[in-house]
Symmetry: C2
Subunit: 325 residues, 2 copies
DNA sequence: TCGCGAGATGTATGCGCATACATAGCTTAA
DNA sequence: TTAAGCTATGTATGCGCATACATCTCGCGA
């Protein structure tokens, strides 16, 4: 920056000003500085800037996995907005091991981000401590909490599970099974579904659980087992993701079962292909665009309005009825 | 850090040493320092560290889109390895507008990453200049180049397109169509496929192009149009992604066509569901795990061996024949 | 006994910026 | 005419660390 100043015949601070508030520099000086920058290919050192100003324009984000489209698309919507406001995103994945979260949080916080986005609302005591200590805005997404660290944008997974059960009962399904993978939130949906469905119908809900990420292949496997264990007529299968649901549909088709008459399927997430598959998939829709955007907006108002604004927003969900149930 | 030092009865440097090379401080001192850190919840300021040491332990990554599983999974494999070596990833998306790449590169470089990962090998002159200027290792992935900026890990898209055409000819398909979306690389595969197929069979290859990301729904639409335009028997459809291929399969099924006898489909990417769909999808496999890992390893050896090692690696591809073609 | 080397710790300094404060040259209204 | 105010720029300083170099304390062999 000092070098640019020399080239333009001004001091370092004038260059700094030219970059951060061009209005404060005379037009001629500004032009000379811009020329010098263009000539040298100078790129400001944001690290030094962040150290000096205690503002990094960085947002840290922690998601279970980027390869899960569901998390990726929320992240995408979130970063689009933050990027538009001059923020960059620093990403980390926690994967399946929750103990990685603590290390990841520490690593992210060491970069002194201006805010941090977390997936889920359950964090270790040490993690909460570090977050509080950091003194920056925090958004927790994908879930609701009675004790949010700061901002929180999501929906109730228990409500979603219960709503799916009510939906199934309402459309006359008398027995049910679940196919569930992974995280704590999927398990809460399953539990709420099962509990409600069993209470209302007095029938036992069969559970197929996996502790690896959901895939179409596993969905087929699970459905195959359920069919072999004899799935009574008027059965519905509640899946923790559309991937499983899609697999269940494929397996039912291959075995010559008619959907939804022989077996019905409810997915979760309402991914793009849900509407286009054959039969089209009934699914619980979470508006991921809205989720990401709302999280971004929560942070932005939190930035402008200070620590007073603890924004908590329930974005809800919606059961989209198509052909599969 | 100075505060921690006070608590532990040592100076700031000793704390610094305790964190970066614990072997250089006596066990008792180390313990007192660790206690103080645990008590206060201190998180080192990596920004200051990076400024002082000119080493950020940050890797910048630029991908077209995180919501495209194909890019996301490579990124995932890449970050797993880099994370294991103490590096963090800073991500940016270029989206569909290539002019965003320049801005994104500048923004990323301003954080002074230790290396940068780019998708594709075509960059503007200004972008190349900034990258060269930054003086850090660069890996370009997903493609091969005669003039790589530094390291390059990928495969030839033209070869892949030609191989698909040869495969189609070999299995007796006499006419072909393509469904293509998006990037420059998909277009090159399409062109190579078309050119080779037309040369060998002397039949015209019909092209369905989209300039939005591929989805199952669009694949169905494209297939519907192709069928309505009358697809002769012994036809094969070469898709730029498995999403399209899956959609084509669904549409063919809905219309009562038999795959591959009435129409055959070749996908690209060999995503997880390709093997599990019904009929199972024939697809060009790119080992995304290997791609990500190889890129990471290229950077790591580049770090240890200096600017001499311009690593270029062709990871190739493989046509996986299943039921759809 | 003395000196020497190794281990443990400390002092001084600067990384490249942003910020607070100071200054110089103008304009404007009383 | 002059003080006040405004614009454009400059000087000094410190953000929180890592690094080079200095210092001190031992233990050990000559």
């Amino acid at each position: 920056m000092a070098e640019i100043g020399q080239l333009a015949g001004v001091s370092q601070v004038t260059v700094s000003r030219a970059l951060s508030s061009p209005g404060k520099v005379s037009p001629e000086t500004l032009k000379r500085i811009e020329d010098a920058i263009a000539r040298t290919g100078y790129v400001p050192n944001a690290v030094a800037g962040a150290l000096a100003s205690r503002k990094s324009n960085l947002i840290a984000a922690l998601v279970p996995s980027v390869t899960n489209i569901v998390y990726a698309s929320v992240l995408h919507a979130f970063s689009e907005i933050m990027w538009g406001h001059g923020y960059q995103i620093m990403l980390s994945e926690t994967g399946l091991q929750p103990d990685r979260e603590e290390k990841a949080i520490a690593a992210l916080l060491s970069r002194r981000p201006d805010a941090i986005l977390l997936t889920g609302v359950h964090h270790s005591a040490q993690a909460r401590r570090m977050l509080l200590n950091a003194g920056i805005p925090v958004v927790e997404i994908w879930d609701m909490s009675d004790t949010p660290i700061d901002c929180c944008v999501g929906f109730s997974h228990s409500d979603a599970g219960r709503a799916a059960a009510d939906f199934a009962v309402q459309w006359g399904y008398e027995t049910a099974a679940t196919i569930t993978a992974g995280d704590d939130r999927a398990l809460r949906r399953r539990d709420a579904f099962t509990s409600r469905f069993e209470t209302v119908t007095r029938s036992k809900v069969q559970a197929m659980d996996f502790d690896v990420p959901a895939t179409l292949g596993l969905g087929r496997e699970a459905m195959a087992k359920l069919i072999e264990l004899s799935l009574p007529p008027r059965s519905v299968v509640f899946c923790s993701s559309d991937q499983f649901a899609q697999g269940a549909l494929v397996e039912a088709g291959v075995r010559g079962l008619t959907v939804p008459d022989d077996v019905a399927v409810i997915g979760f997430g309402d991914q793009e292909y849900a509407a286009s598959s054959a039969p089209a998939l009934t699914s619980v829709r979470i508006d991921r665009q809205v989720l990401g955007r709302t999280a971004a907006e929560a942070l932005l108002t939190r930035f402008s309005e200070g620590p007073g604004a603890h924004l908590v927003k329930d974005i809800g969900f919606q059961i989209i009825r198509r052909q599969s149930a």
